[in-house]
Symmetry: C2
Subunit: 282 residues, 2 copies
Amino acid sequence: LKGLTQKENGEMWLEEFENNGFKASYKIKEILHTTQSQFQEISILESEMFGKILVLDGIVQTTSLDGHIYNEMISHVPICAHHKPKNVLVIGGGDLGVANELSKYPFIENIDLVEIDALVVESCKTHLKEIAGETTDPRVQALYEDGAAFVKGKKNVYDVVIVDSSDPIGPAEILFHYDFYKDIYESLKEDGLMVCQSQSPIFHMNVLKQSFQNIHQLFSFTRLYTAVVPTYPGGLWSFTLGSKKEFKVKKDILATNTKYINSKILKASFKLPQFLKQEILG
Amino acid sequence: LKGLTQKENGEMWLEEFENNGFKASYKIKEILHTTQSQFQEISILESEMFGKILVLDGIVQTTSLDGHIYNEMISHVPICAHHKPKNVLVIGGGDLGVANELSKYPFIENIDLVEIDALVVESCKTHLKEIAGETTDPRVQALYEDGAAFVKGKKNVYDVVIVDSSDPIGPAEILFHYDFYKDIYESLKEDGLMVCQSQSPIFHMNVLKQSFQNIHQLFSFTRLYTAVVPTYPGGLWSFTLGSKKEFKVKKDILATNTKYINSKILKASFKLPQFLKQEILG
């Protein structure tokens, strides 16, 4: 398996490099599942400290220890920033963690989940229930297509679009381009909003700024917020929200049963560290 | 050097284990300085991604990339929570980063820095100016003593005490005990307050809770706040503030020239994730 090495003492370690200057290694107790799709190598591993880990082509995507932080932050913030959305599109999100969070809102009527790789969804449904949840919600429509192609040409369809992409290398690279955000803009209703993960302010400031500027060019209201994601490089992670209509972050979290987010964390997440404020606002 | 290994391709990597289930590895370009004190092995290394790194006995203490986040959060929050403190005690803080932050406040008249290991201070003064700063402030009195012994018996002396300790293993272990916090309580004036780093809510919840409960037993007002520290395990880090007098976190940051903290981050840092609120407040 990519990134997995067996040491002389018999221990298995998953080794993940960041820019060839930092390496995070996770002790692995067991390989729970592994398969090769037409897009990537998919594994679910049982680790010593992070519980189960979803790995795509050797890169850690989510863990049962901290995956809920990312999933809650990318889901509940846009839902609560909008006024009770009914039709939501998730691009990516193959681990089903975002769909699981969205299921907590009874007013959502439909959730289109467009994930390029059906085998990721299948793998997580069976072997990563801690993140995927029960996956029995009939409102979730899984569509195994290219997210960028899916959204192109859609007009005035969605209330909220969530871009839950992996890193901007390989199949997800296109999900950081201006044209993709423009297609999302078109697919949204007149009071619609979108959110995407926009990488680490510590290590990927260029990606973050590019994402932010692309969204800022299209949407009338653009805001950045952050959260801690222990297993992502830099720990501090950013999300960019673009809205056609003015929105207030003084909203409350309407769902219960969250582990990380609450109404105060929602508001606090929009308060940016000084260096980030300066980079973004100039 | 402890933790430093040379690979077959000639690369040097610093490897740091967390609970034997996670390993962080930093590519090292150069060993800038190394010495052995009576307490520990001290090194300052030039890394590929984190700039300079201070390492004590193989454990990363601070880096020039992200050290300011921790130093700003443990310094500016208590100073701004207090009403213009004059006499401040720093226990630990041998990298001089906290003293450097405190120097930004003209109303502080005296800063006692009690660090057990003089060689840490000497090393950082010479080789880690990015964190230590100019170190020419005449208000800083460096005292090379055991912090716990120093504070014992002091009565009604300090306005603010900052415990900038390393992890609760080795020489710093005593800095997490009830008796130590009690001595700090006694050393504070009647409107005094203290702050300590209380480890990671993700990986060290037991230490965090013990620290919090110890301080809560002594002080009338106890509050937890958090910040992201990329190079500490878990990324999310906690600080516990104990005050004899009621304090408001609605204060502004009075210093300028900060890279991470600002008035909004100060207030936001006291908003706790749901799981942490539940663990602490029950």
